[in-house]
């Protein structure tokens, strides 16, 4: 049977069919749906770990135990999991171990545009890259076989367009894999210097063995058409090239992106007149070609930045451009915004009003940095709000402690924020940390986390008590506020900033998009009372706009949260 499937859904199907038993991941666009989808198969145990390092270590532990195991993350997640990755490269596996890492060229939902192939090269771990949903499934299955064949974890590199495009996939049955019997093996799995030193040459040998395999692997393939133009590409870039050039070019489609083969590339370059390496982000295949003495075009023609597309290939290689109609006027941009009823809004309005320095973090609440709230000074990576605030306050002293806060979501706090809080308590700054507890991992589309009381399958689970946790860390002053009540929230922030001790404020209200959250009827503005003062616009609610000098509320968006009524001095909203 053929089914339309997202790349991520097809990947999950591949895991299922390959007999994968254990999956542990941390969400991150565009990788999240792989784990959500695999959790739907009862034969696979799947969980959300608190962060990517934990997830990868769980997967490695399961592999040591003899099971086929899996973990997924977005590109920056692999930085967090880099520590286990680099040494898992040394230990190798028992049961097959597959790591999905999803790059985001064009930064649709990411804080940077890093190319995860560098991690594969640096850790000397095999990496393969599918180019559509059918390949996502096939490559996921192949990855397990290769992992066991070469005794290595295998990374599957995804990218936004492959992960989030649907195409047809042929479904097969699951092949059950029995646990491989567990045998204690100190030389292989205890990576202290004396053992690691003996594993390292094996790592080098293994990558050479895989390179030899790559010369003949069906995952790499050549398509000869007209040989005036030759294209070397992997993943989605291959699709762009085929779309643009069709049979006007020949293709070397690489499924294995680390290690890269040498002979088939040389052979291809010999047979084609002009060879282009088409790769998104960094010049990894191109550099490999040059290292092997091959003269190819790459980043002299294509950019290091953003996505490629069929039109870019057509323009750069064939010099063809398309005709199109332009709207005759300036079209205002539409950046993402906090949803109507978002509990983060009230908190950020208070912060913008107080004018404090806000050490920010990553999640829906990063939108607090956008106009009109503009209440965020920094956003770096998950967890950095708290540790960064400590550094900021150490540098600028007691004055700064009274005028600065860190903001961090519940999921992000569990991911890597709490270690920063330990540092604040231990190394003593009187910093104020605000945990935005909306009872869910919002930004990535509603995943459970250790504070929500539910697991990935939605079953009841132990919930971390944030108040108790902060106390246990050594923070004595812990307050809980409801951000829908702005006056009270503002008062509490002021009190905690004034204290000569570190403090935590938990701003608690569930995300307005959660199914169990009951909405009030939409509010209306009484135009006889409205004086057009625009105070209500300061909260940046997408449901509120001004038409003919009067406030109007879009009834399709308003959920009746009521924070605009607190802004209105004339009582026009009700």
């Amino acid at each position: 049977m053929k089914k339309l499937m997202l790349g991520n859904e097809a990947f999950a199907r591949g895991l299922y069919e390959a007999g994968c038993k254990i999956a542990s991941s941390y969400p991150g666009t565009p990788s999240t749906e792989i784990t959500e989808e695999v959790a739907k198969y009862d034969e696979v145990y799947a969980e959300w770990a608190p962060n990517e390092k934990v997830a990868m270590e769980v997967a490695l532990g399961a592999s040591v135990a003899g099971a086929r195991s899996f973990c997924a993350m977005k590109h920056v997640g692999l930085n967090v999991a880099a520590d286990p990755l680099y040494t898992a490269g040394y230990t190798g596996v028992t049961g097959g171990m597959v790591i999905a890492v999803a790059d985001d060229p064009g930064m649709h939902s990411s804080q940077n545009e890093q190319d995860s192939r560098h991690h594969a090269i640096a850790s000397k771990v095999m990496m393969i890259e599918p180019s559509d949903s059918a390949e996502c499934k096939e490559f996921a299955k192949a990855a397990f076989d290769l992992s066991e064949q070469f005794d290595t974890p295998v990374i599957v590199r995804m990218s936004t367009r492959v992960a989030h495009s649907q195409s047809a996939v042929e479904l097969c049955d699951r092949v059950e894999k029995d646990l491989i019997p567990y045998e204690k093996n100190i030389q292989k799995f205890v990576m202290m210097p004396g053992n690691a030193i003996r594993r390292h040459p094996q790592v080098e040998q293994r990558i050479e063995d895989i390179r030899k395999y790559a010369e003949t692997s069906p995952l790499n393939r050549v398509e000869y058409n007209d040989t005036k133009i030759g294209v070397i590409a992997a993943g989605i870039s291959y699709q762009y090239a085929r779309d643009a050039l069709g049979s006007k070019a020949s293709y070397l489609k690489l499924g294995i992106v680390n290690p890269l083969p040498v002979e088939i590339i040389k052979d291809f370059c010999q047979k084609c007149e002009t060879v282009y390496v088409i790769e998104q982000l960094d010049d990894i295949i191109e550099t490999h070609c040059r290292k092997n003495g091959l003269n190819v075009h790459g980043k002299d023609t294509f950019s290091l930045l953003g996505e490629i597309s069929q039109s870019i290939v057509r323009e750069k290689i064939l010099g063809e451009t398309a005709e199109f109609t332009e709207f005759p006027e300036n079209v205002p941009v539409r950046p993402p915004v906090m949803c109507a009823g978002c509990p983060h809004r009230g908190l950020f309005y208070c912060l913008s009003k107080l004018g404090v320095m806000v050490s920010g973090d990553i999640g829906c609440y990063t939108l607090g940095a956008t106009a009109p709230l503009c209440a965020m000074d920094t956003t770096i990576c998950m967890g950095a709000s708290i540790s960064g605030l400590h550094g900021f306050n150490k540098a600028r002293g007691a004055e700064s402690e009274k005028k600065s806060v860190a903001v961090i979501g519940d999921s992000t706090f569990m991911h890597s924020g709490m270690t920063g809080l330990v540092n604040i308590a231990y190394n003593a700054t009187n910093s104020t940390v605000i945990i935005l507890d909306n009872s869910i991992t919002g930004m990535t589309g509603h995943q459970q986390n250790p504070t929500t009381g539910k697991n990935l399958k939605g079953d009841p689970a132990a919930a971390v008590n944030l108040v108790d946790l902060c106390h246990a860390i050594g923070i004595k002053s812990v307050r809980v506020v409801d951000p829908y009540h702005m006056a009270e929230t503002e008062a509490v922030i002021k009190e905690e900033l004034a204290k000569d001790e570190p403090s935590v404020i938990i701003s608690r209200r569930p995300c307005a998009l959660l199914k169990y959250v009951k909405h009030n009827p939409p509010l209306k503005c009484d135009h006889d009372k409205c004086v057009g003062c625009k105070q209500c616009l300061k909260i940046g609610c997408p449901a509120i706009s001004i038409h003919d000098k009067k406030m109007t509320i879009d009834h399709t968006q308003c959920v009746g949260c009521g924070i605009c009524t607190e802004m209105c001095k004339v009582g026009a909203i009700g």
Binding site: Q166, S167, A168, A322, F327, T370, M443, D554
Partner: protein
Amino acid sequence: METKSIMIVGVGGQGSLLASRIIGNVLLSQGFEVKVSEVHGMSQRGGSVVTYVKYGDEVNSPVIVKGEADIIISFEQLEAARWLPFLKKGGHLVTSTQKIDPMPVINGAAVYPDDIIGKIKAQGVDVIAVDALTLAEQAGTSKASNVVLMGVVSKKMQFEESVWQAALEQCVPAKFLELNKKAFALGRAAE
């Protein structure tokens, strides 16, 4: 058959994912190779979102570039203006007349252009404008404007109505099916 391209554009949260899945299933049932490219994550939070549907004998790139779309389906007027350059010469634009102010307009940093539909028509583009929101509310919920627009588009494509009905049944949860069928019928009867 040459590859055909349909773009669905709107504001994050308006239901473009369901729309693209309905069309994708219609096309798959007709034996085409199909690719549907969606946007998840950040822009789903009220930003401008776009979904691509491509079909034919062979489909490579899942994205649509400027001048390539045979049909653009827009859930909102400003988004129709924004994505207009992606329409092929001679292509069709189906748009809801709904307007949603983006934050720069709400803040007064930018102005929402007036008479967008008139100005697009003046460029010689074939435009079908439908008040999908009102029709959706007639069907029972403002959330069904996406399916109303599917009803409108179904008349611009060559497939039997039953094929669309089957796709609806596949993509919509049973308890909302009746409502969505009504929305679809209202869209099909519109214009």
